[in-house]
Amino acid sequence: MAQADVEYESDGSGSKAKDRFLKPLVADYEELLGRFQQTESVRFEEFTAVWRNMGFSSVFYGSLAGNEMREFCHLTLTMAFNYFLPPYSFQIRVGGLYLLYGLYHTQLASPKEKIRIALKDWEQIQKFYQDSVNSQHYDAVYIIRKLIAENAVLYTAMPQMLTFRVKKKSQHHKVCEEFRDRPERVKDLISTDMLLEVANIQGHYERLKASVLERSSIAVTKQDLLARLHSCVLEFLHWQDRHENRGDADHLVYAEEKAQQVESSNRAQLLASIKTKSYGCLAEASKSRRHRQVQMDTSISGTGYIKEAPKYHKSRAPSLRARTYKKLCGEGQCTSCLMRTQCFVGCNRAAPPVTLQGG
């Protein structure tokens, strides 16, 4: 018996729409935030200048059928929220906040899609708010307050709706390395509280030792452990600062990037040349099918390639057999190879030639 026909899934989270829109959207965000990072400021004016320059409001234009507009707006806000949280640097987080503000107000869904804040992220946001207040960043503070005051926020359990899609490879947000905050791991480990505790324990130990023994020749730890720890940490922090200022790290990174770029552009060129060779020559359709002539797609984006004219090979490339012979036996003739029809191993000319047994 025929089974009941069911339309293809369209669950509330819009998984298909999400897959399609995700990559270009993230690319656009990183472009915007990259430019904002280069302005080296956290002022909203700078942000709006970059925003207007890129014409970012138009990200919502274009007719999106049915619920797609709503799902797209939801997706934009969800993706943008990732940039508002650690491990990004303060400037990028401010950029993320401005981005959320911009997207919330320029979205075309009605009623507006809200910004979802999960309970677990509230602490981070409060800390950020406090930092902004302490650093007197009026515009950042004003914008956070404005978003909360105009009910743009939904207070949720989790940042996204979860539908237990185990099989689908979940789209983890890949942290953009250029926006990452400078790692504070040493400072976190050797904090002032920790140093105080170490001092306390050391003092306690010394007192116990003095009360038990008369001579204090044995010592488990160094006497000046605290001072040395402190000086180590300070030295490291100074080194970090100096490197940042001098830009040594930058040079290294730049050189690395350059090398990577050259590599990637080589690869891109190779890809491009392969593509043009295969797509460059199109069979011309017969007269009756000329209206269905396949057009060459000249709008290939992403590879950033230079169009090459397809090369016409006059001679055929040497065959595998010929290449093997050439490689293994070299320019000159090798007697051992000539005696055999096939050369299986790389013949060592130093070794005496092997004669065939039995003719």
Binding site: G55, F56, Y61, A149, E150, T163
Partner: protein, 382 residues
């Protein structure tokens, strides 16, 4: 001291058990309390804060002069985000020419492709289905008693259709319900419409008019939910049995943690300990099992539907194609016949009229030998 209190607080804050898949179990009521503690009442109220009070608070906190405040407001206003000139009219339905944003490039390609298609393939039913989500948005009740209070929790629950059809196993047809935290589990149970509730058992070829008296929903009233090791049974009616007993007894003999029992009607959503995004079970009619996933828990917002009477609210429902009568292909099949000499195939579907016309004479006598069963189409709830 400090450590124990932080761990207490942490228990009520939902965190991921598996990233992007589901959370660890937490108590819904405590989650709500946790949020309400952290927020000021004005933050989650339905009113928008007055601009003057907001400005005054802001100026006080930051200690800035009114002129600076005005300047700041001008800088941060939404108009600065406008990308085109004031008087330029803009058609937001069309991708602007020469797009630089990647999203727009992709969208333009799709738009150009769509332009080449001759037929736009959005069916009317899909359109209505999309609109179902936003049908109740922003509704306020006439009677203020029915207003959803501020700070109330709204849960979104996906109830999947039972996986009895082959096709149902590869896609995930479901219905999405929105419930309030103060609802009890019986409200959820009553809101779930499953066609197995309407099924009529028995063979009715001799008495075709008696069929509607025997709906399964009235016969088999037991049901249970299973959340985090607790079975919640429906014990409202005297004929309801404790269906979970079998499972609990079986589990005792095996190496399972002991399960607990509770009453469905006494449990509100606030009392539940659940994981968000994790599949649970709803079982009724003895063997009709539905997977239940709580997809979202959040505080109520002024743009939600604020009328208590409209909850549980249906926001999404999968549409199932109905199967039509084998004779007229117009009406949905209501009768299934087997061993029927009149039917072209075995088994065969008929609508009410064609069934009567073919199998019974004018006086209502049965013609020929056949077996007839009332059929409820899965698409009956469309």
């Amino acid at each position: 001291m400090a450590a124990s209190s932080s761990s207490n607080v942490n228990e009520n804050i939902p965190v991921f058990e598996y990233k992007d898949i589901n959370t660890k179990p937490f108590h819904v009521g405590s989650f709500r309390t946790a949020w309400l503690e952290k927020l000021k009442p004005i933050d989650y109220s339905y009113e928008e804060k007055y601009e003057e009070t907001e400005d005054a608070d802001f100026a006080k906190e930051m200690g800035i002069a009114p002129e600076t405040l005005d300047e700041l407001k001008a800088i941060c206003s939404v108009d600065t985000l406008r990308c085109q000139a004031e008087d330029e009219s803009l058609d937001t339905n069309v991708v602007p020419p020469d797009p630089t944003l990647q999203t727009l490039i992709q969208r333009k390609k799709k738009q150009d492709y769509k332009g080449t298609l001759r037929i736009d393939k959005i069916s009317r039913v899909d359109h209505y289905q999309d609109e179902l989500e936003s049908l109740a948005v922003g509704k306020r009740p006439e009677d203020p008693v029915d207003l959803v209070p501020e700070g109330e929790i709204i849960l979104s629950i996906n109830v999947l259709y039972p996986a009895i059809f082959e096709r149902f196993r590869y896609v995930r047809p479901h219905m999405t319900l929105q419930m309030l935290g103060s609802h009890s589990l019986v409200d959820l149970r009553d809101a779930i419409c499953c066609i197995s509730d309407l099924q009529v058992f028995g063979e009715f070829s001799n008495t075709p008019d008696m069929a509607p008296d025997f709906i399964s929903k009235d016969h088999f009233k037991s049901a249970f939910f299973y959340f985090e090791g607790v079975f919640y049974n429906d014990m409202r009616h005297p004929e309801c049995q404790d269906m979970s007993e079998t499972t609990i007894d079986w589990a005792k003999t095996r190496d399972f943690p002991t399960f607990q029992k509770a009453k469905m009607e006494d449990t509100r959503f606030y009392d539940l300990i659940v994981k968000v995004g994790y599949p649970y079970l709803f079982c009724h009619q003895g063997d009709c099992e539905h997977v239940v996933i709580i997809t979202d828990i959040r505080l109520a917002h002024k743009d939600d539907c604020l009328d208590r009477k409209l909850y549980p609210l249906l926001t999404h429902k999968h549409r199932v194609m109905t199967r039509k009568c084998a004779v007229c292909h117009v009406y949905i099949g209501r009768w299934l016949t087997t061993n029927d000499p009149f039917a072209p195939n075995d088994p065969c579907l008929f609508c009410e009229r064609c069934f009567r016309m073919l199998h019974y004479d004018k006086k209502g006598n049965k013609l020929g030998q056949f077996l007839a069963y009332p059929y409820v189409d899965p698409g009956a709830f469309n």
